[in-house]
Symmetry: C2
Subunit: 407 residues, 2 copies
Amino acid sequence: MAPPPKNTNGLASQRHAGRRQVLAVIRKAGQIARIDIADRITGSPATVTAITAELLDEGLIEEHSPKTPPSSSPRGRPRVALKIRGDAHILAGIKVASHAVSLCFLDFEGRGRGEFETRMPRSALSTSEMVAFLHETLTKACIANGLSLDSLSGVGLGVAGIVDAPRGLVYWSPTLTERNAPLRDHLAEILPMPVFIDNDANLVAKAEQLFGKGQGVRDFIVVTIEQGVGMGIVIDDRIYRGTRGCGAEFGHTKVQLDGALCRCGQRGCLEAYVADYALLREAGTLNLPDAPHGQLDALFQAAKGGNETARSIFHRASRMFALGLANIINIFDPKLIILSGERMQFDYFYAQEVLDAVKTSVLQIDAPLPDIRIHKWGDLMWAKGAAAYAMEGVSDISVQEIGKNVG
Amino acid sequence: MAPPPKNTNGLASQRHAGRRQVLAVIRKAGQIARIDIADRITGSPATVTAITAELLDEGLIEEHSPKTPPSSSPRGRPRVALKIRGDAHILAGIKVASHAVSLCFLDFEGRGRGEFETRMPRSALSTSEMVAFLHETLTKACIANGLSLDSLSGVGLGVAGIVDAPRGLVYWSPTLTERNAPLRDHLAEILPMPVFIDNDANLVAKAEQLFGKGQGVRDFIVVTIEQGVGMGIVIDDRIYRGTRGCGAEFGHTKVQLDGALCRCGQRGCLEAYVADYALLREAGTLNLPDAPHGQLDALFQAAKGGNETARSIFHRASRMFALGLANIINIFDPKLIILSGERMQFDYFYAQEVLDAVKTSVLQIDAPLPDIRIHKWGDLMWAKGAAAYAMEGVSDISVQEIGKNVG
DNA sequence: ATATTTATTTTAAAGGTCTAATTAAATCAA
DNA sequence: TTGATTTAATTAGACCTTTAAAATAAATAT
């Protein structure tokens, strides 16, 4: 007779998939009764009972009785709603920009638990300086918000540049003086919790997926404009990263042969027409007055005031932006494009003019254009995305732990 | 006591996944022993034995002893190789072009079992005319190759235009006079086997994935140039179709604001610079001599002979093509791009000049450019793709049948 | 109270996969 | 030739998961 086999459970252990799925359904629904979960995962109530029992046990979810959901008839045993237990985990999200670092805390339900912001000592740091600086910043942020470092279950980090997320490498970033920096692992060495790192545009996509306008949409695209132009691609509910794991370089897509000079050194990049520096570069000849909100705002005011040169700057940028968007639509045919950002660009770019230009540049069939929506987040958009990314990672870890605890 | 539960087997019936996986591994390997299969699917030998027994039973695979694979030591029980059983199914692939219909038969191993070609009566037909014409053509092709219509297990159909593959609808095609034609279902009504239909570029991608240079590559992109410019996207081993299920419209990607007029009615499309008609349009002013292989060949000869005008036509097309490719690379960062086709364009376009231009237009990091490979298929490339698509569909159906036979 | 209705949990059968043991089929060594 | 050795494939039995069906729970309606 064979001795009891080890609990390796081999292969594609259905349970993991089930647990993940149930957790995702609960997160998406906010609160939901077991029987409705069973419905959505095409599993039986019995299975849902088993899985939710584990998740309750682990403290990842909780029952939520107060208001019976107004569904169905008032007869019969009332359904008891389940929800994510916010206190299960607290995540930190950090966004590193060239001038400042912003940080936020999110609980497991996605609710804000604190914010923090600080200046960068210099616009670019070495890897070890960056690690020390982030450690210090995170510690300060915890203190400022009455949290202990140990109470955090995970940290998400977003940086501009080219990042290999699965390996935690930063191939290149404007905020780092070194290339190919193993930033994640260096951080993880001095922090007591897991660290996740990604390109900032991908993180915004993740935030849109979990908390924003991408909820429940399997395929969508997020475009951000600011210092540069970023893009995040979600296909089949997952962030698409190319071969090298770096984000899509929409900003360096060419919209003009031998066109405007880009800061990447090439010509004709979309970024060279629509990013901050591109607009300001053209505005340079205009001799603008000082404006309270900077030169870009001054340019905007001038355009609004009827200055033809200023208007033509925005006009060209709009048309190029529309062309870039149209190309994305022609290639992906997405259901939804989210223009996500905090800056003023969208005030010009998301004009009827742009939409019309997109429309005339997309190969028309009977179906309508994809939904193009703007989402103006606050300053914390990027940091929230980073925290969302950490939440996903911690969620996976928690779910995997369950299997081990049993064995 | 509960009566024996029905064999609904619900949820993600692991077995299906397993069977599919094993079949895919065998197909990819050509021939492979059970123990090696176990290795590649991270399953146990026991499971592989069980699954392969089913597949053998069903006649989808067969043992293949003759030459012991030279692997490992010569000691021990020799491994017996398994392979796909070619006779398990015969598939037809049909490619409809504006001037001709080409057709091929493939067996379940992917070996050619016959070919056929015929002219289209007119360049565009109504749906019912098309159905009748295809039925007639398929019947003739069977007779010409000593096959009976009943012996076919599936038919794949590729058409240019915009196709909703899952629903079998042709929204628009240059070969159909009607829009929104339910071509698949109409065909399936008069044919005794399942019918699959898709955009032709997607089918070429499928052919590359199953038989060509895309074997074993999870993510790659196929570009075709001919009448138009097509693109097929494979992500995560699956063909990516946008929201409306239509192929990526790479050809109508804009490479120039207010650029050359495209036959789609818009301006600046890539197609308007590199497709047949675009080259010929420019050549029109050149007063070329008649050439045995048509005007396009005459243009090519002129360019080769040093005619500056002819050369400049190709030069511009090359640069635009490079720009389009660079955009694809910037967006997808694919591991591999396959330039797939039968026509002469690649003789010019795949020049060092193009590669260099791509290189200078891609955002450089330390990693090298993606592999860009040309694959010149014969005339039957498109039809083979269609047959490959049918093979995949029939494969799925066969695998699903197994479960039912048991119950 | 009791019946009815609906949600959840329990129970037991069915079907998977896995480990370990066994059997099969070859070579190697005397 | 025979037995040891080696490697592949199959079989046996443990264990895990899911599911249908039965049982239980918790409410309203009568």
